[in-house]
């Protein structure tokens, strides 16, 4: 079972108790640095650097971690504490593992014949995070790799221990067809309800402070210029320009079809809003491009204001 939200803090505190504890003490590389393993690595990577060949060969620095790997027979050097930490995560349902970050510094070259020792410490365990793969905790370790007692390199490594989000198409009954994923619903509250009422009538409403006249968007309970809570609205004329934009490539959230352009639109009235830029390929959106408001029906209950690149601007 995955830990529920009610005991999430308590579970994280138990995980954090392992921060600073050793994950491996005086671990030993299973093989001394050697030419065959170097050659296999270079062959796989397509690396023809001359320093990694011949009688004076050094190991490719990026190979640092390979010398500390447990291989098929596993890690004999793992500490009890690290085993417990991983066991705790496994027990909570976070049984899968994927590496996300690797930071290495290479202090001296490793040469054939060098024997490897290493010490690893648990640096941090993150709060629970949800990623595309699933929900879990990031575990960061730091390893000092030595040869002949001398520090050869350091290696910081981050893994995600996670509960898989969904199973693949393993044998089993065919799944019933799923409803197409829908866009997230807007969160409508008393501070922004008027905006969504405007959208329903195909009117883009901007708040105006009745004390100082400042326009504001998005909707807020008070005026950022003078603090007054009194306001009325003006309807946007619909003209604007692309003030800035990003192109969304990854991750592909359900109901969205990347790549697409997300624009920061400066309305003719002077306020800015974030929305999609449509009617132009995502890679042809440009800063300064004139755009015009329109309302796009997303599904049977959701309509959104979007901005169409004006004619003749492509």
């Amino acid at each position: 079972m995955t830990a529920g939200p009610e005991d999430e803090d308590g579970f994280h505190a138990r995980l954090r108790a392992y921060e600073g504890k050793p994950a491996a003490t005086a671990g030993r590389g299973k093989d001394p640095v050697n030419l065959p393993m170097i050659r296999h690595w270079c062959e796989a990577m397509g690396d023809a650097h001359p320093a990694y060949r011949g009688p004076d060969a050094v190991a490719p620095p990026a190979m640092l971690q390979a010398w500390t790997m447990g291989g098929l027979s596993g890690h004999a050097d793992r500490s009890e504490a690290y085993g417990e930490l991983l066991g705790l995560l496994d027990g909570a349902g976070y049984t899968s593992v994927v590496a996300t970050d690797c930071e290495q510094e290479y202090l001296r070259p490793l040469r054939p014949g060098d024997t490897i020792t290493f010490d690893t410490v648990v640096e941090s365990v993150s709060p629970r995070k949800t990623t595309r793969l699933g929900t879990g905790h990031f575990v960061t370790t730091r390893t000092d790799v030595r040869t002949g007692g001398e520090l050869a390199g350091t290696h910081r490594f981050r893994i995600l221990k996670y509960a898989p989000a969904a199973r693949g198409t393993a044998p089993g009954p065919p799944e019933p067809p799923k409803a197409a994923p829908r866009r997230p619903r807007p969160v409508v509250n008393r501070d922004n309800a008027g905006f969504w009422e405007g959208v329903a009538e195909h009117r883009l409403l901007i708040q105006r402070c009745t004390a100082c006249g400042a326009l504001r968007f998005p909707w807020l309970p008070g005026c950022a210029a003078c603090g007054s809570p009194e306001w009325d609205t003006v309807e946007a004329g619909g003209g604007g320009t692309v003030h800035s934009y990003v192109v969304m490539h990854h991750p592909p959230f359900p109901a969205f079809d990347p790549p697409y352009a997300v624009g920061l639109i400066e309305l003719a009235e002077g306020v800015r809003m974030i929305s999609n830029v449509v009617g132009v390929p995502y890679d042809e959106v440009r800063i300064g491009m004139p755009v015009r408001l329109e309302f796009q029906r997303v599904d049977e209950e959701l309509e959104l204001p979007v901005f169409r690149a004006s004619e003749g601007e492509r």
């Binding site: 299973k30 393993m37 296999h40 690595w41 062959e43 796989a44 990577m45 397509g46 690396d47 023809a48 650097h49 001359p50 320093a51 490719p60 620095p61 990026a62 190979m63 971690q65 390979a66 790997m69 447990g70 291989g71 098929l72 899968s96 593992v97 994927v98 590496a99 996300t100 970050d101 690797c102 930071e103 290495q104 510094e105 290479y106 070259p109 793969l133 699933g134 898989p164 989000a165 969904a166 199973r167 693949g168 198409t169 393993a170 490539h249 990854h250 991750p251 592909p252």
Partner: protein, 136 residues
């Protein structure tokens, strides 16, 4: 003789065909027998559509990309990488790099910091920074 690197230099892109063979060869050469790097069925059980490249192979490819460019006397001093979209079989990863900073030592050795990105069909597989020494 190659001119010393300068901030702003762009490295020519390198396209890596992400084959099943490369993924498995890289995993084995780095002594990584996690099943998700060689067993497609096990990978699917864990929520991934297929096997995917391990981080050590990505690290090795980034290291190769940098020293290929800076030449036979270049030496890697540091590599920092973060993985994003996985490298699945059939994809192509295009590595690009830009020199962001160069420091010259008293002996004329240049130490360059290079920002690296590797994009595949899903987005950025890897982003990171390499530090490489280039002797005069």
């Amino acid at each position: 003789m190659k001119a010393l690197p300068q901030a702003g230099d762009a490295l020519p892109p390198l396209e890596i065909a992400v084959t099943r063979t490369l993924i498995v060869a890289g995993a084995v050469a780095s002594r990584d027998y996690q099943d998700v790097h060689h067993d497609a069925e096990a990978a699917r059980e864990k929520g991934s559509p297929d096997v995917f490249m391990n981080i050590l192979t990505t690290n090795g490819l980034v290291g190769r990309y940098v020293t290929d460019h800076f030449g036979p006397r270049s030496v890697l001093r540091a590599l920092t990488i973060r993985l994003g979209a996985p490298n699945h079989p059939g994809d192509t990863m295009t590595l690009t790099g830009t020199v962001v900073e160069v420091a010259e030592g008293p002996d004329g050795t240049a130490t360059a910091r290079v920002r690296i990105a590797g994009a595949n069909g899903l987005g950025h597989h890897v982003t990171g920074t390499a530090t490489v020494e280039v002797p005069r």
